[in-house]
């Protein structure tokens, strides 16, 4: 049984094998072997004993992954296979770089372009604000503003496409 798990951009295989005793799994991660005994303590809290070392972990399921707390750090762990499935369902597997989306839930303060306008890569497109901090979202590539899907004062979230930019066809100089 193999999982392909992503933390940030790093993808690592976790090979999990079956064990005879209950609440026990064997895992191999990048050549390292782990003998794991686990116990569900309360909802979303697990006690793990990994190769004899005891750790309490907390797991909250989020959008397309799990937030996992270990010793004061939190890791967002995603199953790469599920991510692929998700992308395939939404808009095909290929990346769509010509979209401007906010990094955090925020409010649109300013829209700096008009539909049909030609923009350069890195040019400011939309200014959003969250918790008294402003940030400018920039064009991911040279191109033409195809469609604006937002308006001033709109509340927006990561994944919302605010502005679509049609990438410029590569031309001979």
């Amino acid at each position: 049984m193999k999982y392909r798990l992503k933390i940030l951009e790093e993808m690592v295989d976790v090979v999990v094998s079956h064990s005879d005793s209950e609440h026990t799994v064997q895992a191999i991660i990048e050549g390292k072997e782990y003998h794991v005994h686990y116990q569900s303590i309360v909802d979303r809290c697990f006690h793990l004993v990994m190769n004899g070392k005891s750790t309490e972990v907390f797991v909250a399921t989020g959008n397309q992954g799990k937030h996992i707390f270990v010793n004061g750090r939190t890791f967002f762990v995603q199953d790469a296979d599920q991510l692929l499935a998700h992308r395939a369902r939404r808009r095909g597997p290929e990346e769509t770089p010509g979209e401007v989306t906010p990094p955090m839930p925020s409010v649109v303060l300013r829209i700096m372009v008009k539909e049909g306008e030609r923009v350069k890569r890195g040019q400011g497109i939309v200014v959003v604000s969250a918790m008294k901090m402003q940030t400018t979202l920039v064009a991911p590539s040279d191109g033409t503003v195809k469609k604006i899907h937002t308006s001033i004062d709109a509340k927006v979230a990561p994944g919302d496409i605010l502005v679509e930019i049609e990438e410029e066809a590569v031309e001979n100089e």
Partner: protein, 496 residues
């Protein structure tokens, strides 16, 4: 003299909750005010009454002076506690309270006005022989004049907004070429933030410590200090770790600075709880920075080491009661550290991270206090300051409290949004912090481009797998999302 029967708390989040707690202990009824997005916020749940102010936008809710005064009258409350931020240092608001016969729990409006003007504050201090940072005593819009002054003071200089606060309109300028551009951008930022773009200059100090004194002054002329706090660990000119005592403090220096702080408070005619901020340079010279005319975010560390409840003192003073202790009665014991837990992503330049708190577990154990404004399931709104809570630890020595805080942060579970917790752990664990070599440039010098350590990633991966197995019971119960087969489907017959 008795204190109030009922007060309005014109704030939200952890500070509103903290004020309500003392009010309850004193038998004072509390009225929380809230915006639409805060209908289920912690302070609303905690107060005796709660009144909706208006839409979420601060100007229509927590900054809406007219509405807050009207709510105070209609609920028959006698006083307003402004907390920190929002209207806390707004002299117009304090004035409205005064003319409406409502007690503003803070200094008189005239003092808020005078000390809010940073160059006037510098002139007041200078006249009382309080050392001020070399620089200008009058603000200006005139870039030519500002350039001349910069030459006179000597680069590098600090450009500051006369109406400043929270790091807005502040720039360090190292050479004359950058002066004009910095002044223009600082002016525009200050104009937007405070409606006043005029600037003044101070000599930039190299790696100073930020050391401040907690003050109490009553209506009867009594002024005391409750010792210092060091707040050198800052990002974007905002404090994130505070401690008391300061690692740089000696009894002689404390005595000297405390006396100067008392004269600063007396010179300005200050009343109620306030803080005199200083910069302390490497040679032990200290300079007046400003007076914070309100309860400070970091006030709990003073409470934990002196045993004095500052909110209780604010209420007593506002009710006209004299202080019940003198300077000689005040002692401090042990060491305390506060860590500010912000909804921010420390790996992405501290960008705010609003959202829903999916899981929340507070640390406990000896010497801990947690002033929190959130709970599990709470949606942290994007409209306000990203502070979630403040974790405060006390112990006998600095080293013991440092270790205690690290231990507690490692047990502070907040999932669903990014927080400053992993960053704080690394700062506290660093050798320079352990040695007490703290200064306002600490984060930039030692923690630029910080990213979270990779230890424990395997634990997280295994936790992922364990949660999958546990939550789905038998592996075969894992339901695939449409369109892509999961290993559970492709592996066929397989069981635990």
């Amino acid at each position: 003299m008795s204190v109030f029967k009922k007060i309005v708390i014109a704030n939200r989040g952890e500070i509103a909750v903290r004020i309500i707690r003392t009010c309850r202990e004193m038998g004072i009824h509390t009225v929380a005010v809230y915006s639409e997005v805060d209908a289920a916020a912690a302070h609303v749940l905690e107060a005796d009454e709660a009144v909706l102010l208006g839409e979420s936008e601060p100007s229509k809710s927590y900054l809406n002076i007219e509405r807050i005064i009207a709510v105070t009258k209609s609920t028959h409350a006698e006083a307003i506690h402004p907390g920190y931020g929002f209207l806390a240092e707004n002299s117009e608001f304090a004035k409205c309270c005064e003319t409406s016969g409502i007690t503003f729990i803070g200094p008189p409006s005239a003092i808020l006005r005078d000390l809010g003007n940073k160059t006037l504050a510098r002139r007041i201090m200078k006249s009382a022989d309080v050392p001020v940072i070399p620089g200008m005593l009058e603000a200006s819009h005139d870039i030519t004049l500002l350039r001349q002054e910069a030459e006179r003071i000597g680069y590098p200089v600090m450009v500051k907004a006369v109406a400043g606060g929270g790091g807005k309109g502040m720039r360090i300028v190292f050479d004359p070429e950058a002066m004009e551009e910095s002044c223009i951008s600082a002016m525009s930022e200050a104009e937007k933030a405070f409606g006043d773009g005029s600037l003044y200059l101070e000599k930039h100090m190299e790696a100073p410590r930020h050391v401040e004194f907690q003050m109490l002054a009553d209506h009867h002329g009594n002024v005391v200090h409750l010792f210092e706090r060091e707040c050198s660990i800052q990002r974007r000119y905002q404090k994130i770790i505070e401690e008391t005592p300061s690692p740089a403090m000696t009894p002689t220096l404390r005595n000297e600075m405390g006396k100067v702080a008392v004269s600063a408070i007396k010179a300005s005619g200050y009343i109620n709880a306030g803080t005199v901020e200083f910069l302390l340079d490497q040679s032990g010279q200290f300079y007046f920075l400003e007076v914070n005319t309100r309860l400070q975010v970091e006030h709990p560390i003073t409470e934990m080491t002196t045993g004095i409840d500052l909110v209780r003192q604010q209420l007593e003073i506002a009710a006209g009661n004299p202080l019940t202790f003198t300077q000689d009665d005040i002692t401090h014991r042990g060491h305390a550290i506060e860590c500010r837990i912000y909804a921010e992503d420390p790996e992405a330049n501290f960008f705010p991270s609003p959202g829903t708190v999916a899981l929340y577990r507070e640390p406990c154990g000896p010497g801990m206090r947690n002033d929190s404004g959130i709970y599990e399931g709470f949606e942290v709104p994007m409209e306000y300051d990203p502070i979630l809570s403040k974790l405060i630890a006390t112990a006998g020595t600095r080293e013991a409290v440092r270790q205690r805080m690290i231990r507690a942060l490692k047990n502070y579970v907040i999932l669903g949004i990014r927080t400053t917790i992993p960053f704080l752990i690394d700062v506290l664990s660093s050798p320079e912090f352990a040695k007490g070599n703290t200064h306002t440039g600490f984060i930039d010098r030692h923690f630029e481009n910080w990213s979270q350590g990779k230890e424990d990633e395997d634990v997280a991966r295994i936790a992922y797998v364990v949660e999958e197995i546990a939550s789905h019971g038998r592996p075969s119960a894992k339901v695939s999302e449409k369109g892509w087969p999961t290993p559970w489907e492709t592996l066929g017959e397989w069981r635990m």
